[in-house]
């Protein structure tokens, strides 16, 4: 069999600034200023969501989202002049996420599926318009989004779904290879078909 050169991966990382994507992946970085009550509320929210993973199950079911991370920050690490030392007057929310697909579709998923979660995480930020309707929410994110200076992705042509599936496939393939040594041709044919059936959504 000849080895084919892989075709260029499709263009799917749409709707964002050029420096925010690498291959199939998009990075999003959003800063927002938090109202005083958020200072009390957000740490509790973070604590609870970490303790009860079920609360973020939906987020994890959306496999095109690699991760989403919310952090409250009071100051920036000091990098030397001209940066001024000291804390912010208000704490800020630092939101980072990596995902596959288009920027619009990603925010739509937040608006329509993670509606309550978005309100919980961003509700204490100044100017937050609610996740629905989507148009003002998108404008809000855009207004507070910072373009990355440099975004790097180790496997730019792969998506997180593809990587997850490949890992599943690998396990099954290793098992098949291991067991195959003890099989006669008929048994192998049957095992191979079982493997295909079992692993078809990773092939």
């Amino acid at each position: 069999m000849s080895i084919q050169t892989p075709a260029p991966a499709p263009i799917t990382a749409t709707g964002t600034q050029p420096r925010n994507h690498d291959g199939q992946a998009i990075a999003i970085t959003v800063f927002s200023t938090i109202k005083l009550w958020g200072r009390v509320f957000l740490p509790v929210l973070f604590f609870v969501t970490r303790r009860i993973p079920k609360l973020t199950g939906t987020l994890r079911q959306l496999s095109f989202i690699h991760f989403a991370r919310w952090t409250v920050i009071g100051k920036l690490p000091y990098n030397g002049p001209p940066q001024k030392k000291g804390r912010f007057r208000y704490p800020h929310m630092y939101f980072e996420s990596n995902f596959n697909g288009g920027w619009e579709e990603y925010i739509d998923a937040f608006s329509h599926i993670l509606t309550d979660g978005m309100t919980a995480f961003w509700g204490s930020s100044y100017g937050f318009p609610k996740p629905l309707p989507t148009a003002p929410f998108k404008r809000y994110i855009q207004d507070n989004e910072t373009e990355a200076d440099h975004y790097y992705c180790a496997y730019p042509e792969a998506t997180s779904t593809m990587i997850q599936r490949s890992l599943e496939l690998d396990k099954k393939l290793v098992a098949l290879k291991r067991d195959a040594r003890r099989m006669d041709p008929d048994a192998f044919a049957a095992a191979y078909r079982r493997f295909l059936t079992d692993a078809q959504n990773a092939l």
Binding site: A7, I11, T12, T14, G102, E104, H112, A135, M162, Q200
Partner: protein
């Protein structure tokens, strides 16, 4: 919202409701304006007088021919519309289809450099669409159109496509086409089941009119306490208009037949008919595979069958009936996106990830049918003139083309593209889920883009303003 009254008299025809299959002949003529705007508007005035609207005709009074008008961004300028007003149109419309070729996958054999002359170059200004019941009426209407242009002068048809309905409203691959359409509030509420948004507990609802007709509430307005309307061009152009996508898609029928014939030799029971249906997601007569997975039901008529669109994918999360990569499942995944089968049933998101990516399709096949059984190309140009109407080209048409047809990730299909449309790089495949699955490979280029334009279809008031030079 349910009480939205649509002003049918202000909307051009064939958008909200199809004119119907009794119009067998359709001509698309792209006109370039080579004269000053005042002169062009004199001609435009005459055209506008004959435009058919969305109002229904009394029984028996359907006209012999219909006329509709759309404009490109260069067309707006040629009619004298100011840069400010042109700037109020969407970015992708202003950029034009050919400038988005890489995004759309119009590369290799579909590259705009090899498109039909007159398309994708900025020369196509005004699109006249003429429908006719009979060839003779059609010729008469075309004659009148040309006379009117010659009378004014400085107007030239840079590209013309004459199309004709194929027997049984089929497209060239042999599939019944065009009946799956979005259900729209105030226009086609009765089609909500299957045509609308899949909701919890098996319910459906029609889509807000503004998803397709500007100046009306859209799905975002529905959840907006302030009831803001979707982005639209500056008044009066923004009211009752819609964005139109026009694409000439060549179909290589001989290649399709050879590939499916050869692949079927390896497929269970050698069933080519089933294998091809798996690629589309429907049998040739339109019956959906989710409902009829094993056999094509006899005497099925997609125009009258109750269940032709009334289905979801929640009973088929793994694609055993209708493959995950079937054309209709990709182009309108309904409730299938990110749904997973768990021990307690399917956990999905109903239509939440798909409902904002719907489009009205009004395509027409062009070119002579390749006689049945022929598997060598006869050199005839044939395919589909793909036409879609939507409130946002980027969200609706491009979203579907880019994220769902040209890429497979959202369906868990890696980089596999829609098999029916093909892959210019020939490295893709299609998995036909089964026990065991079947792999259709290599993926050929069955469909090539031969040209296309992004257009705007103004409402009647807007057309009059364009003709009068009062559109701003």
């Amino acid at each position: 919202m349910a009480s939205v009254q649509i002003d049918l008299g202000d909307i051009q025809g064939d958008i909200l409701r199809a004119y119907g299959n009794d119009y067998d002949n359709t001509t698309y003529a792209f006109v370039k304006i080579e004269c000053p705007p005042e002169q062009a508007r004199a001609w435009f005035h005459g055209v506008v007088d004959h435009v058919t609207t969305a109002e229904t005709w009394p029984p028996g009074e359907k006209p012999l021919t219909t006329l509709n008008v759309a404009v490109t961004a260069p067309g707006l300028r040629a009619l004298g519309v100011s840069e400010d007003v042109v700037g109020s149109f969407s970015r992708e419309f202003r950029a034009g289809m050919s400038s988005r070729s890489e995004l759309l996958g119009d590369v290799g054999p579909s590259d705009p450099n090899s498109w039909e002359p007159g398309l994708g170059t900025g020369d196509a200004h005004v699109l006249l669409t003429i429908n006719a019941k009979q060839a003779a009426d059609h010729q008469r209407a075309l004659g009148k159109m040309k006379e009117a242009m010659d009378a004014v002068g400085g107007l030239r048809i840079v590209y013309q496509e004459d199309t004709e309905l194929l027997p049984g409203a089929r497209e060239h691959f042999g599939y019944s086409d065009g009946f799956a359409q979005p259900a729209i509030e105030g226009a086609s509420d009765d089609k909500a089941r299957g045509g609308g948004v899949p909701l919890k507990d098996g319910k459906w609802r029609a889509l807000a009119a503004g998803e397709f007709i500007l100046g009306y509430p859209d799905e975002d307005t529905r959840v907006d306490p302030k009831k803001r309307l979707p982005n639209a061009p500056a008044a009066p152009l923004g009211r009752s208009g819609t964005y139109m996508v026009w694409r000439k898609l060549y179909q290589d029928i001989a290649l399709w037949r050879r590939v499916m014939r050869d692949a079927a030799k390896l497929y269970e029971g050698g069933d080519e008919h089933l294998l091809s249906a798996k690629v589309v997601g429907r049998w040739t007569n339109g019956a959906p595979l989710v409902k009829y997975p094993d056999e094509e039901p006899r005497g099925y008529d997609p125009k009258t069958a109750e269940d032709v669109n009334d289905f979801r994918y929640d009973g088929d999360v793994d694609g055993m009936r209708c493959p995950l990569g079937a054309h209709i499942r990709r182009s309108n995944p309904r409730d299938a996106l990110a749904a997973v089968a768990g021990p307690k049933g399917v956990i999905g998101f109903d239509g939440h990830l798909s409902f904002r990516h719907r489009m009205i399709r009004r395509g027409m096949p062009y070119g002579r049918v390749l006689p049945e059984g022929v598997t060598e190309d006869d050199g005839v140009d044939r395919g589909l003139v793909f036409v879609s109407f939507q409130g946002s080209i980027s969200r609706q048409f491009e979203g579907v083309q880019v994220q769902w047809l040209n890429a497979g990730n959202i369906f868990g299909l890696g980089h596999d593209k829609d098999f029916l449309l093909g892959d210019p790089h020939g490295t893709g495949k299609m998995t036909i889920q089964g026990k065991p699955p079947f792999f259709l490979a290599p993926q050929e280029v069955f469909v090539r883009t031969r040209g296309g334009e992004y257009l705007f279809v103004p409402g009647m008031t807007a057309l009059a303003a364009l003709a009068d030079g009062t559109a701003g």
